[in-house]
Amino acid sequence: MNARFLRHLLTVLLVCGSSLLALPVRAADEAPDALIKRLSTDVLDNIKADKAIQAGDYSRIVALVDSKIMPNVDFQRMTSAAVGPAWRKASPEQQKRLQDEFKILLVRSYAGALTQVSDQTIMVRPMRAAVEDKEVVVRTEIKGRGDAIQLDYRLEKTPGAGTGWKIYNLNVLGVWLVETYRSQFAEEINAKGIDGLIATLAERNKANAKKG
């Protein structure tokens, strides 16, 4: 059971990495499921064509994340949800540092997943949502070896015309990314406050960077 669970966890981690990168270039007010489909395919193709990313070139990965993925993610909402109620008490500088460090943590620790992309295909499942919905869940499946990998996105409609949809949470194999960090962040905040959490994140990022 442990081994099977760990294998799931492996897939979670690997897919988190690839899917975080799976979200580039946005068109005006495209339907959210069409958006996810296009972005996933585009990013998978990009990775398959990029030898440097496959070899784990960190700077190339960061460039890809910044140019293609981050414009489609409401990272502030993601971070605030992971931080929980303490977010409101944080100063704007603290909020900015939390976002910066959390992003580095995710990109750095999941970067290795991108070397794993090979011949997987992505299928977007039919979406049930009303036209006026401002928040939707788009469900996708990645098919490769073994069980199909469930990969879902929560998206919000950004206000104003032509601003499109933004992703604010990600579910791999039934595990929501934000929820998985929530207890860990709460532990740090309870023990050492917001600054303690920032320090822990920064420290972890430094240690990860040293490992190459």
């Binding site: 059971m1 442990n2 099977r4 669970f5 966890l9 492996l10 401002k134 073994g146 069980d147 206000p159």
Partner: protein, 281 residues
């Protein structure tokens, strides 16, 4: 197959049915006394669990991980794939039983077909022909079956050597062992070899993941627990679990300062439901 029940259980683990029940009782009795002031409601045994987690981690570092690394470095990738496929094929037959117990027709048929195709066309499962034929894999164990029929998970539990579990999944475990072809092999040396090979092969698959876990988690124990509990729950609801009270409220967290207020407030949320309940079909 007319053996005493205890003989069905893996002897190498040294746990008979009575002993298993005793262990379980011990775990449960700890529930009352182990919880601290900040206890997570789903993890009242946290202090105990952390102890076991630490022990498992030490064993992994000292034995399992080095062995799995050596195995990975010494064998060609195709061999390891074959080994993984072989054990995965044996798993499919147990998934068939559990999908059937949950009255899940297509997944049950798929699991049975996978087992048939891979056993007879894939050299006893060494080649995963079924996946090439687009027959989907639906892994299910007896803990899923209990959950499907409404048995609550009970507290989170970390088992020595076996890792993350819950009280429900632990109760189900002896049944899973009975359904596990490897642990029903009568020839003991063969059974032990197969068990060890499977464990090492599984661990070698996870070498990258465990490195990533080291990097991604602030607290590996909590990360593993929260991912495990969400994952188990999701499988029982076929990837579409209802919102859990309180778990999902964080998604609708209005953000005071920088974002405009209407960014998170729907214009016409007439339903009176929190947004996320609406968002889930």
């Amino acid at each position: 197959m007319k053996r005493n029940l205890c003989l069905h259980l893996p002897d190498h683990m040294g746990v008979g049915r009575a002993m298993w029940a005793g262990l379980l009782l011990l775990f449960l009795s700890l529930a009352g006394c182990a919880s601290g002031p900040n206890a997570n409601p789903r993890d009242p045994l946290e202090p105990f669990n952390r102890g076991v987690y630490k022990f498992n981690d030490a064993v992994d570092r000292a034995v399992l991980k080095p062995v799995a690394t050596a195995y990975r470095d010494a064998t060609p990738v195709r061999v390891r794939q074959g080994v993984g496929n072989f054990f995965g094929n044996l798993e499919d037959i147990w998934s068939f039983v559990n999908n059937a117990l949950q009255f899940k027709g297509q997944p049950a048929i798929d699991s049975l077909r996978r087992f048939g195709v891979n056993t007879f066309m894939g050299w006893f499962g060494i080649f995963d022909v079924a996946t090439e034929m687009d027959i989907e894999k639906h892994t299910k164990d007896f803990g899923h079956t209990l959950g499907y029929w409404g048995v609550a998970t009970g507290p989170y539990l970390v088992l020595p050597l076996l890792g993350p579990s819950t009280v429900r999944d632990t109760v189900a475990l002896p049944v899973d062992w009975k359904g596990d072809i490897v642990s029903s092999i009568e020839h003991i040396p063969t059974r032990n070899t197969a068990t060890v090979l499977r464990a090492v092969d599984n661990r070698s698959d996870l070498l990258k993941a465990s490195t990533m876990l080291e990097e991604a988690a602030l607290d590996k124990y909590t990360f593993t627990r929260d991912a495990y509990l969400q994952r188990r729950r999701s499988v029982i609801f076929e990837g579409n679990p209802p919102d859990e009270d309180g778990v999902d409220k964080l998604s609708v967290q209005p953000d005071p300062a920088p974002a405009p207020a209407d960014a998170l407030t729907p214009v016409n949320n007439n339903s009176g439901l929190p947004l996320d309940q609406k968002a889930i079909p």
